[in-house]
């Protein structure tokens, strides 16, 4: 049982999250349903980044781009009267995958710091594109005309139903990514991260595999974008601001890279911490900043590393 404790942590986390809506109702604190729904949506984005970052070694400093594209896809369809959720979300995932294919095709040729910079550059371009798209609110952003419709099956306007949908999707995404990284495909991208010359020498060309991982990751993050826009019901190019990419990156590292479950933990701690600190003082960033530095300096394997440390390979 190599991943025994990690599985237990995940199960515990899911049970805890599942208990939030009734507990919040009991305590008369419905706000926490919203907060944790937001946490879970970002957790999906963080897990998607973990696929290419933790397992594939690709430090994308522009992951917010797919969050944005997913949100824009849903909103644009809604503006033109298409409210069918299945259609909207498929478009969000599809558009994100297309974009990831284009960005990845160019970026994956570079490596190291250049990869970080080029992914950042592409996201900056999209950010400025978003600002100049007046039809969809430009910099001001715009309200989502109507939440995605699922023919009476699920009502996203109902906070609790939406919450459990997000929880379900989060569990699915985590299981899917786990499955993926243990498959033949996953072994190739992990091998290429661990030792690229060796991987090439035994006959793998890492490029197409990395690109495929990049595209899958973009697609999942696009789904998170579709969820996020339904959560906030408000579209803004700020979704693609470079600091947002930094936040997602930090969630992954905080929770523990290459652990799938870790990023969920990272999203939870970062967003709840941010919420608590900003309630406490307007100068909350002076605490959050050093916290980031300390985590990087002293908790390199992230929170996951603390919780299931003894199970690391080797």
């Amino acid at each position: 049982m190599r991943h025994g404790r990690r599985a237990i942590v995940f199960l515990g986390l899911v049970l805890l999250l599942a208990a939030v809506p009734p507990a919040a109702a009991l305590l008369g604190q419905p706000f926490y349903v919203d907060l944790l729904r937001r946490v879970m949506i970002f957790a999906i984005a963080a897990v998607s980044l973990d696929l290419i970052l933790g397992y594939g070694g690709m430090v994308s400093f522009g992951h917010a781009a797919y969050l944005g594209v997913g949100a824009y896809a849903v909103t644009i369809l809604a503006v033109y009267g298409v409210h069918n959720g299945v259609l909207q979300w498929a478009a969000a995932v599809g558009a994100s995958m297309l974009l990831a294919a284009a960005i990845g095709a160019v970026s994956i040729r570079t490596s190291g710091i250049y990869f970080i910079m080029i992914t950042l550059a592409f996201t900056q371009m999209l950010y400025y594109l978003g600002i100049s798209l007046d039809v969809y609110g430009g910099d001001n952003g715009m309200r989502l005309p109507m939440r995605s419709q699922f023919g009476g099956l699920i009502d996203l306007g109902n906070g609790t139903e939406f919450y459990y949908l997000v929880l379900g999707l989060l569990v699915l995404v985590v299981l899917f990514v786990r499955r993926l990284v243990d498959s033949r495909f996953g072994m190739v991208i992990r091998a290429a991260k661990s030792n690229e010359p060796r991987t090439r020498a035994i006959g793998f060309s890492p490029y197409p595999y990395r690109l495929a991982a990049f595209v899958i990751s973009g697609g999942i993050c696009g789904l998170a974008g579709a969820l996020l826009i339904n959560h906030t019901a408000y579209l803004t190019p700020d979704l693609m601001h470079w600091t947002r990419s930094g936040d997602i990156l930090f969630m992954v590292v905080l929770g523990g890279m290459a652990s799938t479950v870790g990023p969920v933990l990272g999203a939870l701690v970062l967003l709840v911490l941010e919420n608590a600190l900003s309630n406490w003082t307007e100068h909350w960033q002076i605490i959050l900043g050093p916290f980031l530095v300390l985590v990087v300096l002293f908790a390199r394997r992230g929170l996951g590393g603390l919780l299931w440390r003894e199970e690391r390979d080797g």
């Binding site: 710091i113 910079m117 550059a121 900056q124 371009m125 400025y128 900043g289 980031l292 990087v296 300096l297």
Partner: protein
């Protein structure tokens, strides 16, 4: 479009270029020698600006203010290096990006606490505030000419330092072979702290010179930082020559794009379409340029050798 306007815009581009060069030079030195990606470099730009304004107010002299801000920023850089960044040299770029991202938040908030959130503004002293007339119709702000001259002077001094002095020799050697420099019996930690401090001071100089013309406010370093990264990615990370070339290219492209893209587009497509596409494209232009450069030359235009 007249020649005079083009000339004026070229000067504007040059001024942005030297500012970016001062930022990029430190960034690329620090990367080349210590292999550190320092997102907090923009914070030194901000710190330099704040200190220059503060000293300017104390002493009543802008020149003195800027001159005092330089060693102070150098010191600030050295302190940050010793306290927080030293342990990051052996880490991967991801750790560095995140830790220095945290430092940005810290510095932005710290300046907000010390100086408040309201922008600090200073006026140029009288002798610097006018404009220089070239002929009857063409004039240019004097202070901006001064910035260009100082920038060129610093670029020259930096070139001299890197190619002609012992420190420069160590810096160049350190960039290509760290263990060798250590073997020479040089105190490598001290060398690193010094180089980091110099890099910070260069950024501080850029900020200090910008202080009298821009708003000095928390977070003012962030947009400059992103542009400086574009500069060094285009020029080739770790190369001073690349930083200079990249800075001038980005300065020109950005300035000329903002000035002439809309009228140029208007001749191709309809005026309203140009009205909306022009500014959007102009703000995306340098990123587009960077992507194209990296596609054609994944290591930038002037890749640093020996790494």
């Amino acid at each position: 479009m007249n020649l005079q306007l083009v000339l004026e815009q070229l000067l504007n581009g040059g001024q942005l270029g030297v500012t970016l060069f001062l930022m990029a030079a430190g960034l690329t030195l620090i990367f080349g020698i210590m292999n550190l990606v320092n997102l907090a470099h923009g914070s030194f730009y901000m710190v330099g600006a704040y200190l220059a304004v503060t000293f300017y107010r104390w002493t009543g002299s802008l020149v003195l203010g800027v001159l005092l801000a330089l060693p102070a920023t150098l010191l600030a850089g050295a302190v940050v290096e010793v306290i927080a960044l030293r342990t990051l040299y052996e880490r991967d770029h991801l750790d560095q990006v995140l830790a220095t991202f945290g430092l940005i938040l810290f510095f932005n908030e710290l300046t907000a606490i010390i100086w408040g959130r309201v922008g600090l503004f200073t006026n140029l002293p009288g002798w610097l505030s006018g404009s220089v007339d070239f002929g009857a119709t063409f004039s240019y702000p004097l202070y901006r000419l001064v910035i260009i001259v100082v920038g060129i002077g610093v670029a020259g001094a930096l070139w001299y330092m890197v190619t002609r002095t012992r420190l420069g020799m160590l810096v160049r050697a350190g960039a290509s072979n760290r263990t060798m420099v250590a073997a020479l019996g040089v105190n490598i930690r001290l060398l690193y702290t010094l180089v980091f401090g110099i890099g910070a001071a260069l950024a501080g100089l850029a900020g200090a010179m910008a202080a009298p013309i821009y708003a000095v406010q928390p977070g003012m370093g962030d947009p400059v930082l992103i542009q400086a990264f574009v500069v060094i990615a285009i020029g080739g990370i770790g190369s001073i020559r690349g930083a200079l070339a990249g800075a001038l290219i980005v300065g020109m492209v950005d300035t000329l794009g903002r000035a002439f893209l809309k009228p140029a587009l208007a001749t191709l497509i309809s005026a309203p379409a140009a009205q909306s596409a022009g500014p959007a494209l102009a703000s995306m232009l340098v990123y587009l340029l960077m992507a194209v450069v990296l596609v054609l030359r994944p290591e930038g235009l002037f890749p640093a050798r020996g790494r």
